[in-house]
């Protein structure tokens, strides 16, 4: 049992730097931030009346043509509003940073900016390639292909782009010939993409399309997996061992697909609309955990969770109230332990500079000394907050992820949850 009251009180107007000796340390002088990037400038150029007019017409057409239009109110939104609604980035439409993704294996990350360009930062190289493509508009999600050094999938308004950025090249403007354009009629805007952990398949989802697409990227062919109900698919996440895929819908329903024969089972949400946005580990404990969250906290303002790869720190982005003055969005960090019993202990709040609110966060996929939380702030900064601790799993010699993978590796005997229960 845990509540926010147990947390140490957040130090206001002080940026959280790191965790050491089980304490979150803050900097009182905001000048000394070695791990803070410069604010990323971005310019806005939108022909307003044209965009609004055509968006209205399109929304009307879509509403008229779609059978679900009357049942699912999100279909009446314009394309941009829909992306803003279902994007992982909070306040997507006026955020300087549109999306962020760490590379799963190396120290590099990609950032999508407000002007629809994407920049790639590497740890030991000053070259930052900028990716621009005429189809690259309203970037909603980014993800690097696992087991690959170069491929980056970009979910855009009208299509899916696969960039092949040569890691050894020094060019700062890769040509648009390096990008593959994948599109399927009726499958836009794309708000979520997910590579399978083996890198062989890419799944994309759109809130207006009840089918999610399973792409064979090299062949540029897609297999639609259609399930009526829910009115679309907004969020996708693979389990780390690749055996299951979570697909959330705009309504109070989400599906869990098993990825061997691609059958699914429906999970209706218990309380109102499904706020389960980010699941780090798709296993029974996680679902129990999520239910525990929803049950204990009744957090309707609960927006994102991110779990570090070792499973020892859990960050939760609590969405603030934009109307009220004293309710900014904050990030609460928990210490978690999954054996012998599941434990959840408060660690503290991660604070940014004064006036800056967190918009997005992600753990570094393979930080050596503990966990590294990367936070995108509303003022366009990206900060990395390290959590130094010695992992309990490493002492045993086996990383928990491997243990998890080997535990659930025999998928043929893996039943869906309801089958296990019944």
């Amino acid at each position: 049992m845990c509540s926010l009251g147990v947390f140490p009180a957040p130090v206001t107007a002080a940026q959280t730097l790191l965790e050491r000796n089980n304490e979150l340390l803050s900097a009182l002088h905001p000048g000394e931030h070695p791990q803070t990037h410069e604010p990323l400038s971005a310019c806005v150029s939108v022909p307003r009346f044209l965009a609004v007019g055509s968006a209205c017409v399109l929304a009307l057409l879509r509403w008229a043509s779609s059978f679900h239009g009357s049942l699912f109110p999100h279909l009446t939104l314009s394309s941009d509003e829909m992306v803003a609604e279902f994007s992982q980035m909070l306040d997507w439409s006026d955020s300087a940073l549109r999306s962020f993704a760490w590379h799963p294996h190396t120290d590099k990350f990609a950032v999508a900016l407000l002007d629809d360009s994407i920049r790639i930062y590497k740890s030991n190289s000053s070259a930052t390639p900028t990716l621009k493509h005429r189809c690259q508009r309203s970037v909603c999600a980014l993800q690097w292909k696992p087991l690959c050094g170069s491929a980056l999938a970009v979910a855009c308004q009208s299509c899916l782009l696969i960039w092949h950025v040569d890691p050894t090249s020094l060019s700062t403007r890769p040509s648009s010939g390096c990008a593959q354009v994948l599109s399927h009629p009726g499958h836009s805007p794309i708000t979520s993409i997910a590579w399978s952990p083996t890198g062989s398949l890419l799944v994309s989802a759109s809130p207006v399309d009840t089918a999610m697409m399973v792409w064979d990227v090299a062949a540029e062919s897609a297999v639609p997996l259609q399930r009526v109900g829910g009115g679309g698919v907004t969020y996708l996440s693979w389990s780390p061992d690749g055996s299951r895929l979570l697909a959330a819908t705009p309504s109070a329903l989400f599906r869990v697909w098993e990825t061997r024969m691609w059958t699914c089972e429906r999970w209706p949400c218990l309380k109102g609309s499904c706020q389960v946005r980010k699941l780090r580990k798709l296993s029974i404990t996680v679902f129990e955990l999520m239910y525990a969250f929803i049950y204990f906290f009744k957090l309707t303002f609960f927006s994102q969770t991110s779990w570090d790869p070792r499973g020892e720190r859990l960050a939760v982005l609590l969405k603030g109230d934009s109307q009220a003055v004293n309710h900014p969005s904050v990030i609460a960090v928990f210490k978690t332990r999954s054996s012998p019993v599941f434990e959840l202990l408060p660690c503290g709040f991660v604070m940014g500079e004064a006036g800056a609110e967190p918009r997005f966060m992600q753990f570094h996929p393979h930080f050596q000394h503990g966990a590294l939380l990367t936070v995108c702030w509303s003022d366009g900064r990206i900060s990395h907050v390290p959590f130094y601790f010695s992992s309990a799993g490493l002492l045993g010699g086996d990383s928990p992820q491997q243990a998890l993978a080997s535990n659930t590796a025999d998928h043929s005997s893996n039943k869906l949850y309801t089958e296990q229960i019944s």
Partner: protein, 657 residues
């Protein structure tokens, strides 16, 4: 004994498949027929009359008879699917080769049968629609004398129009089957149960058949407008039917601009195409269903059906495909079966399973490497790929019938046989061994280097019997008969002839070539289609992709699951094989046209996956190497491989590929 079991099994699978397929198609037939009836009799203003008419029509005896005829059509379509389907597409390398395929006797029989079936279906459709379409002969008033007008039988042009449209659609289906490789069956990237997959593909089939029917209707209307007179008079003269002059003839503009006629033509065409496409779809779904082989068996009589034995099976291509697919699946999804692969044999303690599987996969991959290297050598020695005029259908034609498909052997697979020139003979046999033009302006620097020292002294070195060239000669597939290359003409005029006789022959051939090169049509027909050679090289790469996936996942899994260290002994082999293949693939993608993407087909029933298989193979290869390097990490330094390969693998370890 065991061998016969395999063969009978291999023969039984398609039979059972066919029966299932036919059962499904026949079951679906009444549904499509009912929809067709509803659509064909559609009237907006009399809905009740429309429904009642349709129900009475559906139970009428003529409809039942039509259904029986349609069942026969479906049966024959199923037979043709079974006979013609292929897992390795035939890729014609020039327009001439395509023409040859279309005019092949087998294909002619196919076209003929499909024309007949098209007419049959259209006859059923016209009977079902009824009204003015129902019969070929209608009573009409002939031209009589003295007010006594006899009632004679006239030709019903509407009926004839539909029948001819059926024949036309049948032929275009058969023709497009060749052009679009309709009978090529590709495997999906994901596994699905049959029913969800069928449901998912059904909208695509409906869309394709509507679009194809609209195209065919347009083309047929145009054709009938120009040439409709000929069949009309022929039919009327042979059957002694008169042509009613009071009616508007259909081969005129006003006759064709009849909305109801065009609507019925399109609807019937959609019905026709839908029946055929549905059979193709069902066939694809049934044939690509994954099959699970046991890894090892306790009984010796079942040993022949175990995965290692089936993998090594060379006679049945289908079995090989299934076995490799199963290997790829088990390596990713099944812990217990992986453990069986890694286990040791009970008496003796040998890792027979792993040895057999890895040997087979490695031989497949190294065979692909050899094929690529041979192709690169050939291209390098010519400066460009010669215009291949033959297609690979020598191979795929024999591959098509499922039961007795030949092995994936080297003699069958070398591009030499793929691109074997059919119009050879311009070059004399005398010059043949040295043809690939060491003297051509595009000759490879490697060959130039080989003979480089003689270059200044003897300008014409066709007769130089260098052992290197002699050894290379037979290996180069393009060296055999390089006749069909019309564009590159070696210039000998400036050089001093040493051997006047053979030089004369060369000059003659050059003249013939330059003469032919000026004929536009011939150039058009014989010029190589871009990308075709690349596509043909990777035509069967699905097996290589599965082999790569299976190997890499097994090796990665062995890191934690292999208790006896079985995999470690073959790890150096596997790594070097993968790196060598990667180098060959990288070099292949530097060739012209190899890395250009094909245009995406809009809506076609024909499967064009084979066009992108080379990209899929490259991606699968890199993923496979990454899978191994990320799993083993620094441990790879302890593996005994050559320095260059280690350097390449280091790139992978640093994620710089």
């Amino acid at each position: 004994m065991a061998a016969t079991a395999i063969y009978s099994y291999a023969w039984l699978v398609p039979l059972a498949l066919w029966v299932l397929l036919i059962a499904w198609s026949v079951l679906l037939l009444p549904v499509t027929a009912a929809v067709f009836v509803l659509l064909s009799r559609f009237s907006l203003f009399h809905p009740i009359q429309w429904i009642s008419e349709c129900t009475s029509l559906l139970t009428a005896s003529s409809t039942i008879f039509s259904l029986v005829v349609l069942c026969g059509v479906v049966l024959i379509t199923g037979l043709f699917n079974l006979e013609f389907y292929t897992l390795v597409p035939s890729i014609p390398c020039s327009r001439m080769a395509l023409l040859g395929t279309v005019l092949h006797p087998r294909q002619c029989v196919h076209s003929l049968v499909y024309c007949t079936m098209g007419m049959l279906v259209m006859w059923c459709a016209s009977v079902t629609i009824g009204g003015r379409y129902s019969t070929l002969g209608i009573p009409c008033r002939g031209s009589g004398f003295n007010n006594c007008i006899p009632v004679v039988t006239c030709l019903n042009e509407y009926h004839l129009f539909l029948l001819l449209a059926g024949a036309f659609m049948g032929y275009s289906h058969s023709f497009l089957g060749v052009v679009q490789n309709m009978y090529y069956v590709s495997f999906q990237p994901i596994q699905q149960y049959k029913y969800p997959r069928f449901k998912g593909c059904l909208p695509m089939v409906v869309k394709c058949s509507v679009i194809q029917s609209l195209y065919s209707a347009r083309n047929f209307a145009a054709l009938y407008f120009f040439f409709g007179y000929a069949p009309k008079t022929w039919i009327s003269s042979t059957l002694h039917l008169q042509i009613d002059s009071s009616l508007q003839p259909l081969d005129s503009l006003t006759g064709l601009l009849d909305f109801s006629l065009l609507y019925h033509l399109t609807i019937s065409g959609t019905f026709l195409y839908f029946t055929w496409y549905l059979t193709v779809l069902l066939f694809r779904i049934y044939v690509t269903e994954a099959y699970s082989f046991p890894v090892q068996s306790t009984f010796t009589e079942d040993a022949e059906q175990c995965l290692p034995k089936v993998l090594a099976e060379t006679n049945t291509l289908v079995m090989k495909f299934f076995a490799l697919q199963d290997l790829a699946l088990l390596s990713q999804h099944s812990l217990s079966r992986r453990l069986e692969v890694f286990c040791l044999s009970q008496p003796g303690g040998h890792p027979h399973n792993w040895n057999a599987i890895s040997r087979e996969c490695l031989s497949l991959l190294s065979e692909l490497t050899q094929r690529l290297v041979a192709h690169q050598d050939a291209v390098a020695s010519n400066g460009r790929v010669k215009s291949q005029s033959a297609s690979s259908d020598t191979r795929s034609a024999s591959l098509s019938s499922s039961g007795k498909t030949p092995r994936l052997g080297v003699p069958l697979r070398t591009p030499g046989s793929v691109f074997k020139s059919s119009v050879g003979g311009v070059h004399s046999a005398l010059t043949a061994p040295f043809t690939p033009d060491v003297d051509s302006p595009f000759s490879s620097p490697a060959i130039r280097r080989l003979v480089g020292q003689q270059e200044p002294r003897s300008p014409w070195f066709g007769t130089v019997q260098s052992p290197h060239i002699m050894r290379r000669g037979p290996k180069l597939w393009s060296a055999s008969t390089g006749s069909s290359r019309f564009t590159v003409i070696p210039l000998h005029g400036l050089e001093t002839p040493v051997n006047s006789c053979s030089c004369h022959t060369l000059n003659c051939s050059a003249q013939v070539k330059s003469f032919l090169a000026k004929r536009v049509l011939i150039v058009y027909l014989f010029n190589k289609l871009p990308e075709a050679s690349s596509q043909a090289l990777f035509a069967d790469s699905q097996v290589h992709i599965w082999a790569l996936q299976g190997l890499s996942h097994l090796v990665a899994a062995s890191f934690s699951e292999d208790q006896f260290g079985v995999v470690q002994t073959t790890l150096p082999n596997i790594l070097s094989c993968l790196v060598v293949l990667l180098e060959a693939v990288d070099r292949h993608f530097k060739l012209p046209h190899a890395s250009s993407k094909p245009a995406r087909a809009v809506c076609r029933m024909g499967d064009s996956t084979y066009k992108t298989l080379r990209f899929a193979l490259r991606a699968a290869l890199k993923t496979a190497i990454y899978k191994i390097t990320t799993t083993f990490g620094e441990h790879l330094n302890a593996v005994n491989i050559s320095t260059e390969h280690r350097k390449r693998l280091q790139q992978f370890l640093e994620f710089k590929e």
